[in-house]
């Protein structure tokens, strides 16, 4: 049991995060400032966890979604348009955005499944097409490049934390109201891949397409479903960013691509498919957010800032690799009980 804990890559990430928080706090005590550091980190993390989950949904197949940012943009457009032109409530606009994201994701999945063209190529082409489409849609349906609309509840969702709500002297924790949305999304994705037949079949399709097909799994349908989930989550990330930023604008999703891979990959999700780690994605996103905030507080010049981001990431990953090697060694030193054959597909 102890060996299994040490072999878990998520533990390594958690240790690295704790060490970095301690180091940054020692260097800059402002790292623990609740209003100016802790709360903003959580809001940003909410978006990047959901973006990571959107990429994770297709990484489960060994696929990529390079259009994750534009799917968010087109969905945010749909939600913004609904708020602006139809004056729908906050939840209805969110549902419209999610539906559009899911549809675009499904279209990508269908194209990949029907043509057999690599997901990299299909989503790259889709990304280019959506860049133009989003720009065209905003110039046609809005005054410029954004909908400056705030449906009832959006400002509260954006700016409030649970600490703003008190029963007598007892107030909630300083956690932004958007955080539970990401938590629910992470829980739902985790349960989907761990407990549902559909999720397990998607992982099996990612692990070995041929074997999955021969086992009677409708692999084409599973590919479409995984991409639909990716589009849906990208749409949720787009909505959360629009809420956080306070407008539904054409540049939403423009910076999603790198973080979408960083979270899952740092967290142990395989690029080859067949295994995903939802908790690892949360930790991976948290690690990048901690590094970014810590280096911001240390106020490096722009060139040094980028060098240090690279160095800290490299050191963090090397430490994690060191932990893995040590765990492997300990495993080899105690070969008393035969290890069970490891299944490739799985949810960590």
């Amino acid at each position: 049991m102890r060996r299994r804990i040490w072999a878990d890559p998520r533990l390594g990430l958690l240790v690295v995060i704790v060490v970095l928080v301690a180091v940054f706090t020692a260097l800059r005590p402002a790292f623990l400032d609740v209003d100016l550091t802790i709360v903003p980190i959580q809001s940003d993390l909410t978006v990047f966890v959901v973006v990571g989950l959107a990429q994770l949904a297709v990484l489960s197949l060994g696929h990529m979604n390079l259009a994750v940012g534009r799917m968010a943009a087109v969905s945010a457009f749909a939600a913004g348009w609904a708020y602006d032109k139809l004056a729908v409530p906050l939840v209805v606009g969110l549902l419209i955005g999610l539906a559009v994201g899911a549809l675009v994701g499904a279209a990508a999945g269908w194209t990949i499944a029907a043509t057999g063209v690599n997901s990299f190529v299909v989503t790259l082409a889709l990304d280019f097409a959506l860049i133009g489409l989003v720009s065209l849609l905003y110039s046609t349906f809005s005054d410029g490049v954004a909908f400056h609309v705030a449906p009832a509840g959006m400002d509260i969702l954006r700016g409030d934390t649970f600490a703003d709500y008190c029963a007598g002297d007892l107030c909630g924790p300083p956690i932004p109201l958007v955080v539970p949305i990401a938590l629910v999304a992470a829980l739902a994705v985790g349960v989907f891949f761990r407990n549902s037949r559909l999720g397990r079949e998607i992982l099996m399709t990612g692990s070995n397409l041929q074997a999955a097909r021969l086992s009677g799994i409708p692999t084409s349908r599973r590919i479409i479903q995984a991409h639909t989930l990716s589009g849906l989550l990208a749409a949720l990330a787009g909505f959360l960013l629009a809420v956080t930023n306070g407008a539904f604008s054409a540049d939403i999703g423009g910076s999603f691509l790198l973080p979408s891979f960083l979270g899952p990959v740092l967290g142990g999700t395989l690029l080859a498919g067949g295994a995903v780690s939802v908790l690892g994605t949360v930790f991976g996103a948290a690690l990048t957010e901690v590094i970014q905030t810590g280096l911001n507080l240390l106020q490096f010049e722009v060139e040094k800032f980028k060098i240090y981001i690279g160095i800290v990431l490299l050191v963090a990953l090397s430490l994690d690799r060191l932990r893995q090697v040590l765990a492997e060694r300990r495993k080899q030193e105690v070969p008393r009980v035969p290890e069970p054959v490891e299944q490739k597909e799985g949810v960590a």
Binding site: R28, A30, F31, D33, D35, L36, T37, P40, D44, V47, V134, S135, Y138, G144, V145, A146, H148, R158, G159, D160, F162, A163, D164, Y165, C166, A167, C171, G172, P180, L241, T244, N245, G246, A247, S249, A250, D251, G254, S255, Q292, T293, N296, L297, Q299, F300, E301, V302, F305
Partner: protein, 345 residues
């Protein structure tokens, strides 16, 4: 076992949200002495346009006896990153910010958040999109007016007729929309004599992108083009060099005062350049922020103030900076006389 715990947690949160009352926090904005004012200037990312801000800010620190100043260009043209940079600077004790917002469409929310927490905000170099500005004031080039002036200069150099091309920045930036409108206004005034044959956007990312776009444009339409108006820095430098190298009789109107462009104006390969006032934005912006932190208030919160734009030609290429300095001096006077409401000493 897990499910009941989860249900209890969700119910507890739901009950709190339903049953709890909302706490309203009011910020404290007590007057600060100049030595307590710490000004941070935060551009959208690294760009040659902002380099004069550094020296202007240091000058402001000395002249206005500010407690501390910093120039932070690590926002990487990403609004989320810029928000994070601003909050980090605030956490370190900076209490007045001059910000070139990455996204004019969303920067207002950031301004609103920071002002609620008691900080002083100036929107420098670019105003938020829309009719409201949640910063204390906006000190920036009127980009539509600057683009209009640039297009008018290009049209005049073309003899009032012919084909014009407009090279500009990011299409999802509302400032680009304003620039496109300014150029279109100048063209409309020609009554059809000048035709806009192409508007090339998204080429201000870096010089290489701009050079490639300009090379492609000249290869495809070089013979048809009579004038090029540029309303972004990198396309300006790239088009001046490309037209000069190709030896085409194309009239180029550039933007800003990069030494290359000034040299091209002197040798005649660039007709004119529309020069902005980044020094004035940083220097006067810091001055006004220190006055606001010292207890003054804007007469009109969110006031938009034009920092000035000047058409520089061969005739005044050596003297235009004097005009710019006069504009900066006038801006300070205007803040004292017209825009600020200060308690009597």
């Amino acid at each position: 076992m897990r499910t009941p715990r989860l249900t209890v947690a969700v119910l507890a949160i739901a009950l709190c949200v339903v049953g709890c009352s909302r706490n309203t926090v009011h910020s404290d904005q007590s007057a600060l002495s100049p030595g307590q004012v710490k000004v941070a200037l935060v551009p959208g990312g690294p760009h040659p346009y902002f380099q004069p801000w550094k020296t202007a800010l240091q000058q402001a620190k000395t002249d206005f006896k500010l407690g501390d100043v910093t120039f932070n260009e690590t926002s990487a043209w990403n609004q989320t990153t810029q928000n994070s940079v601003l909050k980090s600077l605030a956490a370190q004790g900076f209490n007045a910010f001059g910000v070139f917002g990455v996204s004019p469409d969303t920067i207002n929310s950031t301004f609103g958040d920071l002002r609620k927490q008691g900080f002083h905000l100036a929107s420098l170099g670019s105003c938020p999109a829309g009719d409201t500005d949640n910063a204390d004031f906006c000190l920036a080039t009127d980009v539509r007016q600057a683009a209009y002036k640039a297009a008018k200069s290009a049209i005049a150099a073309m003899g009032g007729a012919g084909n014009l091309v407009h090279l500009t920045g990011n299409k999802t930036d509302s400032n680009t929309t304003r620039r496109i409108q300014g150029v279109q206004q100048a063209i409309d005034e020609t009554g059809g004599k000048v035709k806009l044959i192409q508007t090339v956007t998204d080429i201000d990312t870096d010089l290489q992108t701009a050079q490639k776009a300009v090379a492609d444009l000249i290869a495809a339409k070089g013979a048809q083009i009579n004038g090029i108006v540029t309303t972004a820095y990198n396309p300006a430098v790239a088009s001046a060099a490309a037209v000069k190298a190709a030896g085409l009789p194309v009239k180029v109107v550039a933007i800003d005062d990069d030494p290359t462009i000034l040299g091209d104006i002197k040798d005649g390969s660039v007709t004119a350049s529309v020069v902005q006032n980044p020094v004035g934005q940083a220097y006067i912006g810091s001055y006004a922020l220190s006055r606001l932190a010292g207890g003054c208030a804007m007469k009109t919160s969110g006031q938009v103030i034009d920092s000035g734009s000047f058409v520089v030609t061969r005739d005044d290429v050596d003297t235009y900076d004097t005009q710019r300095q006069q504009e900066t001096t006038q801006l300070r006077k205007d803040f004292d006389d017209k825009y600020l409401n200060c308690p009597k000493a």
